[in-house]
Subunit: 430 residues, 2 copies
C-alpha cells in the first residue's frame, strides 16, 4: 500500500495568501455594495511596458514560422538572456558572475522552493522572522524542520532570527550555527534593508562557519538609497558561500508572465566525506561525459542545480526569455524605471498617510512594502479584520510571515495610485 | 558545515540527451562539411499553428493594457483552460473528471519529476524498462531507489518491468508488489500501446494491491487505432488509483512554449496511520481554512498536490494558458490534427524505409517513435556511433532508457518530411 509524504501533514493551515483570499471572498459575499481595495498580496497592477510587449509579439511571430520556430530551450536558459543578465546585473556593478553561472527559470518562487532539494535533509536552516513563508514551508515538506509547536508557531529544528523594531528589522548573527541561511533584502515583508558592510558581515560569517546563504534579491529594483547592496556578490567572498535568487516579477511586472533566475557561482563547493558512488571517470568519458566536476571530494553546488534543472525542468519559454532580454534594452530600462517610480510614489503616499494617521511605520523607502505596528495592542489578524471591516482595505497580517511578525501588518505599494490614495483616506477616517 | 543531498551523486553519468548533444557537437566539430540529421530528441519542428499564434498575440495585447492585464495566475490554472480540458479530454470521451481535478503546469516533465514528492521515501516504484529516464532519475534524487549496480545498470529498490519483443513491449504485472507504478502509453521510447482491456487489468491490479499508477499520456494525440485508450480514466476504477500526466508539447508543438497538466481525482486517497500533526479544526477554521479535507484518516492526494502547487509554484503564464485554450478551439483542432498527421506520415516513411532496409521495427503507428533492433548484435551506443558516422543521422540509444533497451534504438518522427526521407535514403545506403 502506497504511503504519502507525511511531512506535508505537519504544515499548519493553508498558505497565507489562500487564507486571505477566502476571508476577502466571504466579506465581499456578505457586503456586495462595498468596494474592497487590495493592498495585500504583492501582485503588480501596471501593464507590461511597451518594450516588453514588443519583444513578446516579436517572439510569438518567430514561433509561427518554421525557420524561426523554437522547440526545447536550453535547460539553463538562452545564451542571449544569460549574457544580458551577467552584463547588466553583475558586470556593470563590478561583480564577477559569468553567464554560465546563471540559471534561468520560470520564477523565483519555484527556485526558492526547490533550491533546498540539493542539500542534505540533516541540514539546519536559519530564517529571518518574519519572512516570506515559502522558505520554511518548503523545508517542512522536505522533513528538515523537526516538530511544530502551535503555541509558539515555531519549528523545533529551525533557527529563527527575529527582525523587530529593537534591531531595526535587521537580523543578528544566530547563536546556534546554521547550515543554510535564508536572507531576503530588501525584505519581504518588512521592507528593511542592510548596508553593504552589514551584508559583508554575513558573508564573512557564512564562510567562517561553512554555511550557505540563499539570498533572495527579488526587490532589488526598489533600492533608492546609497550603500544598500543590489546583489550579495558586491561582497567579497560571496562566491564561496552564496546563492542568489532574482525575479522579473517586481522590477518588470512579470507576476503573470513568469521569469526569474538563480545564480550559483562555480566556487561554491561542498566537501564530500564519502567518495561518490558513480561510474569511473573512464566509463563516464566513454559516454561523452566529463566527470571532473564531480571528481575528487569537492562537489560544486552549480553541478547539482544543473542536474536538477536538466532532470526536472525543461527550460523557461522562448517567448518569455525574449521578454526578459527586453528588460535590459535601453527603452526597457527607461520604461521600467518609470514603473518602479510609480509604485514607489504609492509607497510614499501610504507611508506618509499612515504616519499622519498616527501609525508607527517602517519600510517603503527601498522596498514596495510598508510595515506598520498594529494599534492598541491588536494582533495582526485582529487588525486584518478591523481594516477589512472598517476601511474595506486588504493587507497582510504580519504574523503570517512568522511569530515575530505578530503585532505588525504589511501594506503593498503595488496597487494603483488612485487606490493607494483612496485606501489611505479611508484609513485616516477609521 | 552544510552538506549536499548525496543522492544526487548516485546518479550515473549525465542526463541521456546531454550526452547525445555532446557527442553530436564533437562529431560536427570534427566534420564541419557533413550535414547531420537529428532524429534523436523528441523535439518538434513544425511552427505553432495559426490558431495558437493568434491566441498568443491576443493574450500579449491584453498584458499591455491596465484593464486586461493579468498578474499572478491561480496556482492551479485558469478556469477557462481547466474547463476546456475537462470537456474535451475527458467529458467528450465519457470520462468523469472535474475541472478542479486538473492542475495546469508549465509542462509534463516538471510534473513527472515533482509528483514523487508527495509520496513517502519508503515507497517502492515500478517502471517499464525501457522508459523515459526522468521517472527513475527523480526517484534517485529523492533517495527512493537503493543502490546502483553499474554492471546491470539497475537500482536495488526499483522494480523493473521488461518490455521487449518477447512480450510485444507491453509489461506484465510485477511479481513483487510496488507502491507506485509508472506507466507511459503510447510508450516513450518503444511506441508501443496497450488495449483498453490490458489497461483495465493494471487499474484493477493497482486497486487490489493499493498502488498508485502515474500514467503519462503525453503521446495520446498520436493514437490512430481503435481500442487504444486515450486516457486511463476510460478504465473503471481509475479514479481511486490513478494520476494522469498530460503535455501540450507533442499534440500542439509546445516544447518551447511550455504547458501541461496533471489530473488527480479527489477519490484517490491514502489512509494515514498516525493522526496528522495539525492545528485543531477549530483553530484552522478561525483562519478561514476548511480542515475537512485532511480530517479523519483519509488524505486526498489532490490536497497534497494542491499544497505543493500553492507553495512551490506560481501558476503557468496567462499567455500560455490562452494558447492552451486555443488548442481546443475548432480551428485549433483542425490545424493540430494536420500537424499530427504530418509527423505520423514521417513515422510511416521511417518505419517502412527501415523495413525495406531489413531492420526489425516496431512503434510508429500510435506514437511518433520508431523502435528498431540494432543489427549484427551491436550495442545501442555502438549503433549510435555507427549511424552518426556512416549516415550522419542522430538517434537515441535504447539502453539510455533502461537495461532492457539495450540492443534497440529510437528514431523520432518529429523532424521535417524532407529530413525523414533524406535520413532513410542515407540509412538504406549504409
Amino acid at each position: 500500500m502506497f504511503k504519502i509524504n507525511d511531512n506535508y501533514l505537519k504544515l499548519p493551515g493553508s498558505y497565507l495568501f489562500s487564507t486571505i483570499a477566502k476571508k476577502v471572498s466571504a466579506f465581499q459575499a456578505a457586503n456586495p455594495d462595498k468596494t474592497v481595495i487590495r493592498l495585500g498580496i504583492g501582485d503588480v497592477t501596471q501593464p507590461l511596458a511597451p518594450a516588453i510587449i514588443d519583444a513578446l509579439h516579436g517572439a510569438v511571430d518567430e514561433m509561427g514560422k518554421a525557420e524561426t520556430f523554437h522547440g526545447y530551450a536550453p535547460d539553463l536558459g538562452y545564451e542571449f538572456l544569460r549574457t544580458a543578465i551577467a552584463k547588466n546585473d553583475y558586470a556593470d556593478r563590478g561583480c564577477d558572475i559569468a553567464a554560465d553561472e546563471i540559471f534561468v527559470s520560470d520564477g523565483a518562487k519555484c527556485d526558492s522552493g526547490n533550491i533546498q532539494e540539493i542539500f542534505s535533509v540533516d541540514n539546519k536552516i536559519a530564517v529571518c522572522d518574519p519572512v516570506y513563508p515559502v522558505y520554511v514551508d518548503t523545508n517542512v515538506m522536505a522533513g528538515r524542520t523537526g516538530t511544530y509547536d502551535p503555541k509558539t508557531e515555531m519549528w523545533s529544528d529551525v533557527i529563527y532570527m527575529p527582525c523587530t523594531a529593537a534591531n531595526n528589522f535587521s537580523p543578528e548573527l544566530p547563536k546556534e550555527t546554521p547550515d543554510i541561511i535564508y536572507l531576503c533584502f530588501p525584505n519581504n515583508p518588512t521592507g528593511a534593508t542592510v548596508t553593504k558592510a552589514q551584508l559583508q558581515e554575513w558573508v564573512d560569517y557564512a564562510n567562517r562557519v561553512g554555511a550557505v546563504i540563499i539570498y533572495d534579491a527579488a526587490y532589488e529594483a526598489y533600492i533608492s538609497e546609497e550603500d544598500v547592496p543590489h546583489t550579495i556578490f558586491e561582497c567579497e567572498g560571496a562566491r564561496t558561500c552564496a546563492i542568489e535568487l532574482k525575479s522579473f516579477s517586481k522590477n518588470a511586472g512579470f507576476t503573470g508572465t513568469r521569469l526569474g533566475y538563480t545564480v550559483i557561482p562555480k566556487d561554491l563547493k561542498c566537501r564530500v566525506e564519502m567518495p561518490p558512488h558513480v561510474h569511473s571517470a573512464a566509463e563516464r568519458a566513454a559516454h561523452g561525459e566529463n566527470a571532473s566536476h564531480l571528481g575528487g571530494t569537492d562537489v560544486m553546488l552549480h553541478s547539482l542545480w544543473a542536474r536538477r534543472h536538466g532532470t526536472k525542468y525543461n527550460g523557461a519559454p522562448y517567448i518569455q526569455q525574449r521578454a526578459g532580454e527586453a528588460v535590459y534594452s535601453p527603452e526597457g530600462k527607461v520604461q521600467l524605471a518609470k514603473q518602479v517610480a510609480y509604485y514607489m510614489n504609492n509607497a510614499k503616499v501610504i507611508k506618509e498617510g499612515l504616519q499622519e494617521a498616527g501609525y508607527t511605520v517602517s519600510g517603503g523607502v527601498n522596498a514596495p512594502y510598508i510595515w506598520l505596528k498594529t494599534p492598541d495592542g491588536m494582533t495582526s489578524w485582529e487588525f486584518f479584520d478591523y481594516l477589512l471591516e472598517k476601511a474595506n482595505v486588504v493587507g497582510t497580517p504580519g504574523s503570517g510571515f512568522g511569530p515575530s511578525g505578530e503585532g505588525y501588518f504589511r501594506l503593498t505599494a503595488f496597487g494603483t495610485y488612485e487606490n493607494s490614495v483612496a485606501a489611505l483616506e479611508r484609513i485616516k477616517k477609521m
